[in-house]
Symmetry: C2
Subunit: 330 residues, 2 copies
């Protein structure tokens, strides 16, 4: 038996030598890849720099020239430059991106680039699933808190903690999405920051008269929001799959009528509920504002939360109107 084992080991050793070769080759491939990466990155920034210079000269020439033919030529250059910029965007898809301030603070300088379309798609899909799971948990929890868990401040606190954690995590993931080229509007990300602060303030709101008066309303609001978020999940994943099937998200053009009509149908369902949620936020702000005028109310949380809900209402409404307007104009 010992002998058999020894020969077996020696065989394995031979395979190991091969593996060592593969490993060395792998290191070489990494180095080559990085070098090639550098060449591309530098090339793109050089081109961008030059294009910027040319466009500036074009602007100047346009101002001074009045010849129609010349102006046409200048317009042509501008059009080509815009085109070129879109091409760079495509090229940058497989180049690593620098983390912004937020990710640098939270994660440090670790590279979170997803270097293929497939990886990006999977990551986005997972992000939507993560939101869905957390939403369902908050939904069930909020219902429990309104029924048989009512009156235990401890469970309320745990719920608020969950919200703080959830919104915090969302902002991290959304920044990763942004680094990887998602066009998610800045406000939705900021909105999750503000929501984190909002949940944090509710968390430290001492159990007082004002707290008890607002608490149930906040639970109803959370339930309503959770239900909407489930609808959003179906819309967003639907859009994700369809756009993937269409090939490219950002080079989407108007001729893709199937997608457009699907999208508008989805939005028609969604928009009334979304505006309903924003009105609910306005109503929250109003109720809190009234509460804060109660002479018995001493908690600063009430007043600050009123302002936060007002900000959420205003930011959401304006952004959503902007999105709809832009979609209509396409």
């Amino acid at each position: 038996a010992e002998h058999a084992l020894l020969t077996e080991w020696e065989e394995l050793e031979k395979e190991y030598l091969n593996l060592e070769e593969d490993h060395k080759l792998y290191q070489t491939k990494i180095d080559e890849m990085k070098k090639s990466q550098d060449v591309c990155s530098k090339g793109i920034s050089h081109q961008k720099y030059r294009i910027k210079q040319i466009l500036e000269s074009v602007k100047k020439a346009e101002a001074s020239s009045k010849n129609a033919e010349d102006l046409a030529k200048l317009k042509e250059i501008q059009k080509k430059a815009t085109n070129r910029k879109n091409q760079f965007r495509e090229m940058e898809d497989i180049l690593p991106h620098k983390n912004g301030v937020y990710l640098s603070i939270i994660l440090g300088e670790v590279n979170v680039s997803l270097l293929s379309k497939q990886d990006k798609f999977t990551y986005k899909q997972e992000y939507e699933k993560f939101k869905l799971v957390c939403t369902v948990i908050t939904l069930v929890w909020a219902i429990c808190l309104l029924t048989f868990l009512a009156g235990y401040r401890w469970f309320d606190a745990a719920f608020d903690f969950l919200l703080v954690w959830y919104y915090c995590t969302l902002t991290i993931r959304e920044h990763i999405l942004k680094v990887n080229g998602s066009r998610i509007k800045g406000w939705w990300v900021l909105h999750h920051f503000v929501s984190t602060v909002c949940a944090g303030i509710i968390l430290i709101w001492p159990e007082s008269d004002s707290f008890r008066k607002f608490r149930d309303q906040f639970m109803y609001f959370s339930i309503y929001l959770a239900l909407i978020q489930i609808m959003q999940f179906y819309y967003q994943t639907g859009a994700l799959y369809r756009l993937r099937a269409l090939g490219e998200r950002h080079s989407m053009d108007i001729s893709v009528e199937g997608f457009q009509s699907w999208m508008w149908r989805g939005l028609t369902y969604l928009l009334p509920f979304l505006f309903g949620a924003y009105l609910f936020q306005l109503y929250n702000a109003y109720v809190l504002y009234q509460l804060s005028h109660d002479p018995k109310c001493e908690e600063w949380q009430v007043y600050v939360l009123a302002i936060i809900f007002l900000v959420l209402f205003a930011g959401n409404t304006l952004t959503l109107l902007g999105v709809v307007k832009k979609k209509l104009s396409k």
Copy 2:
């Protein structure tokens, strides 16, 4: 001027064609690198699997054989296998690693591997700097809270928020370090989880008699901890630089006497203060336990915090004793 611009644009266009070639080459290099990566990963898992099988057979053979020479051969195989495993560890340094549960939940399936020694070193260095900056902020803040900001619950809450955020962020970064092969003990990471919970509970502790009685003590404790953490920073970055100069962290061997003596000198300074901090935690637990027996005290936070501080004391002390014992036996 229009003409000059047009020729300039055409020149740029030519360069762009080169860039397109470079970009294609880059995509090829990525693909090759990934393929080579796959080969290595599979090779290593195959070897590991075979070695495990062989070691099992060796165990069986050892039990049945009594021949001294055979036994020596079997021991030889075992020694070689251990060696081989260390070699795999080295090889895996430049292979991507799967995120654990925690990172998968927070970040999702994004790859946070650092694929070179240099990147790992930079990341660790940055992690230490991040801790230092946050520590100095808490130090200054805690001193303010003890002097001219005393009595504003709002500033206290913001301080506790900062601690929650800081410890949360630490655990994320430490998990990234672990994914990249750091040997940081599980307890220190867990310790930061527990600290997050601890700060969270202090955050929601209503302003009551018990809160006011413990508040100053907690501030003194925070200051003491911050001072120690600054000492730790000097020790850890010192160790980091020295080990880097020595070449390899994990293949460190006893002959490197210079490092060993430096380390022991550092530890001799550090250890008394660390044990002092743990005794402080024990004292916190004791004071809180006493407070919780006060008939006027109704807050559940007091009792729970007493337990948490006791857990921190016990875990820290045991882990530190374990670390010292292991270092002594080397």
